[in-house]
């Protein structure tokens, strides 16, 4: 599974340009599902029909988003420096010192107007991107081109380091769940969504189109386990987190109970999560049509939305185990 996460983290895929991710995930899903298709917005929808008929099954949508945050060029000046806007929740404080990569392989570094010794807080207006060009004509990028944050994939024991574990680790968990799940009474709609980082837009339309009876998102969540963190119980290495609430959604008690029961019955470590900022695809599907019971299985991840995110491989493995066990059981 580590290799799968690393492979997914290496693929270019800012919100709105998820084609390479879709292609790679499609290859991994071959033979794992009964049907696979891409919808109008680009969501990849893989359907696994029920295989165990002894209990009542539901249509359960699982959502992991393929897109990642990034930047988009808005202007290239005469010297070849680029001004840019952000795609998704980019933290401006983290830009200086980070590297981005365009689809064509061009690298970008960030600079700020004025003295490098100034302690001024970076604002988007003062920042620019250096793409290795000497003039506008020389620049290998143009207005509208997008780039994603890239730093080498790293690992120390089970701790993984990458710029985009959000949500490549969730995509890996969903693929691995389909690999490990032997039989289920449920119709499983595994959806790899687009445009989550710009407002859960892919999940909104996939939820409307698929009309699931239950939705579970698989995404990363923040932790409270580093110095002066917002008080929060979630920590790395203590298992997946079963969400109770985030900025936009309160989890349906039945979904929470179903997941918690699966964890308890199979001795899977888990944590309960109350997140004070951010949300997931589940919040969009929850209010689709006349409403869908919604929940989220979260992979704890430090420094979310920065170019150096850290998560624990064992939490991802346990998330797979939790999902596979829950999906094998009745939703009750």
């Amino acid at each position: 599974m580590r290799a799968l996460i690393e492979e997914l983290c290496g693929v270019f895929g800012p919100s709105g340009e998820e084609a390479l991710m879709r292609e790679l995930i499609g290859q991994h899903l071959a033979g794992l599902v009964d049907e696979i298709r891409t919808d109008r917005l680009g969501n990849l929808i893989a359907v696994r029909r029920p295989t165990a008929g002894n209990v009542e099954g539901k249509r359960i949508m699982l959502a992991a988003h393929m897109d990642e945050i990034g930047v988009m060029v808005t202007h290239v000046d005469a010297q070849g420096f680029c001004r840019f806007t952000t795609i998704g929740g980019v933290l401006t404080n983290t830009l200086i010192g980070s590297r981005v990569q365009f689809a064509n392989g061009v690298e970008g570094a960030f600079g700020m107007e004025g003295s490098p010794l100034s302690r001024e807080r970076p604002t988007p207006q003062k920042l620019f991107m250096d793409v290795g060009a000497n003039s506008r004509e020389d620049a290998a990028v143009q207005i509208g081109d997008t780039a994603v944050f890239r730093s080498g994939f790293g690992a120390v024991g089970d701790r993984l380091f990458a710029a985009n574990l959000d949500d490549r680790i969730g995509c890996a968990v969903l693929i691995q769940t389909l690999r490990e799940l032997e039989s289920s009474p449920h119709e499983i709609l595994a959806v790899f969504t687009v445009q989550e980082e710009v407002g859960t837009r892919g999940a909104s339309t996939a939820g409307y189109g698929l009309e699931p009876e239950v939705v579970v998102a698989i995404d990363v969540t923040a932790t409270g386990d580093f110095p002066e963190a917002t008080p929060m119980e979630v920590a790395l290495g203590k298992g997946p987190a079963i969400k109770i609430m985030d900025r936009r959604m309160i989890v349906h008690p039945k979904v929470r109970g179903w997941l918690e029961n699966a964890a308890k019955a199979n001795d899977i470590p888990y944590q309960l999560e109350v997140l004070e900022f951010g949300t997931t695809d589940a919040s969009a599907v929850q209010v689709s049509r006349a409403g869908v019971p919604a929940g989220t299985v979260s992979i704890p991840c430090r420094y979310i939305h920065t170019p150096s995110q850290v998560a624990d491989l064992d939490d991802a493995r346990q998330a797979v185990s939790l999902l596979a066990h829950a999906l094998g059981e009745e939703f009750a």
Binding site: G224, Q286, R289, A290, G291
Partner: protein, 360 residues
């Protein structure tokens, strides 16, 4: 159903007190829903709870014209949720727009394995530096004490348990009442009392009286209820800011001046005229509330459901909103009730009467 077994009439304050004191933080509305159900059941033909927990009462029109009006009053209240257990105390996060400045020394109920009385603790003034005394507490400085040892606390409370404010409702002078969660239990009273008035009246439209959930965290219940109901018209019932020291006439509505009828892009101009006409015809005092964009009410969600719904908004002025010491003028509740009932009885059978281009 038989309408000859109506429960005895309840006065608005008693009903408000009962609803105000029943807990119902967004996402955990079971108890308030059960309480509203008891009062609504005898007033409607059918009552059901949907996937997200909205309670919908359907009262059929007399000589029905086939049109549906959805009334939306949210039953959830702002509150807190446990984020961490720390040395026998609880850390928390707000659910909805909680006024942190009004929290210290509040009594609360922690809805753990059982209901536990607790309070919001903070450091006493004696140990604060002069600079610290100048500033309100931040959330990181506040914690909840339920008096239990760390071990006993971990037995009874877990991360994710909801916390509601504990405050009894009371009558004040000059026909006013105070309590917690008057946003929006006041409107639930308006809805129930209007349904009661309508028992004796003739209305052609089918009424879907929806008591919504999760309004305080983003109008979520109203979105799905509006989709399910697919109404021809929507009327949201909520509260608005009442004038008080520090809130001028430009920012707030007069207390005791009657319902505020919303005016702005969220509200349908022709439907709004129907409300104004109903108020003037029946001599109900009212005010105009100008809402330049998002009204922040269930009307905002209803308006864009499916292919669009003309919406109106009736708001009751409330002071000290989003604190445990909200106050309301009881006569504003009574007037809003009459305005709602009169409007429903005056809805036109033909939807073309609501067309925006009346020359076209």
């Amino acid at each position: 159903m038989t309408r000859d077994r109506l429960p005895p009439e309840t006065d608005s304050f008693s009903l408000l007190k009962e609803l105000s004191e029943t807990p119902g933080v967004s996402g955990q509305e079971e108890r308030i829903r059960a309480c509203v159900s008891v009062h609504m059941a005898p007033l409607v033909d059918d009552l059901r709870t949907d996937t997200l927990g909205n309670l919908t009462g359907h009262k059929r029109g007399i000589n029905p014209c086939g049109n549906k009006v959805m009334l939306a009053a949210h039953m959830d209240e702002i509150g807190l949720v446990v984020t961490r257990l720390e040395q026998g105390f609880l850390r928390f996060a707000p659910v909805g727009g909680v006024d942190l400045g009004a929290l210290p020394a509040q009594e609360v109920t922690v809805h753990g394995r059982t209901d536990l009385p607790g309070l919001i603790a903070s450091r006493p003034p004696h140990v604060l530096t002069p600079q610290e005394r100048e500033k309100p507490f931040t959330k990181a400085e506040l914690f909840i004490d339920v008096g239990l040892s760390a071990d006993a606390l971990a037995e009874s409370v877990s991360v994710g348990d909801f916390i509601s404010v504990r405050q009894s409702a009371a009558e004040l002078g000059n026909g006013q009442a105070t309590g917690k969660a008057l946003d929006n239990r006041v409107s639930v009273v308006v809805l129930l009392q209007a349904l009661r008035l309508l028992q004796q009246r003739s209305h052609a439209w089918d009424i879907y009286a929806v008591v919504t959930v999760q309004e305080e965290i983003g109008l979520r219940g109203a979105m799905t209820a509006a989709f399910q109901t697919a109404p021809d018209l929507g009327i949201a019932l909520d509260v608005t800011y009442a004038e008080q020291p520090g809130a001028s006439a430009e920012e707030a509505m007069p207390m005791g001046g009657g319902p505020a009828i919303g005016l702005g892009p969220n509200l349908h101009p022709v439907l709004r005229e129907l409300l104004v006409d109903a108020a003037e015809r029946t001599e109900i005092p009212y005010t105009n509330e100008v809402l330049p964009g998002n009204s922040g009410t269930d009307a905002w969600a209803m308006q864009v459901s499916q292919s669009g719904v003309p919406t109106a908004l009736i708001s009751v002025p409330v002071r000290n909103m989003h604190t445990p010491a909200e106050t309301v003028a009881l006569k504003d509740i009574e007037r809003s009730t009459r305005l709602l009932a009169e409007t429903i009885c005056a809805l036109p059978d033909d939807m073309s009467a609501l067309a925006l281009d009346r020359n076209g």
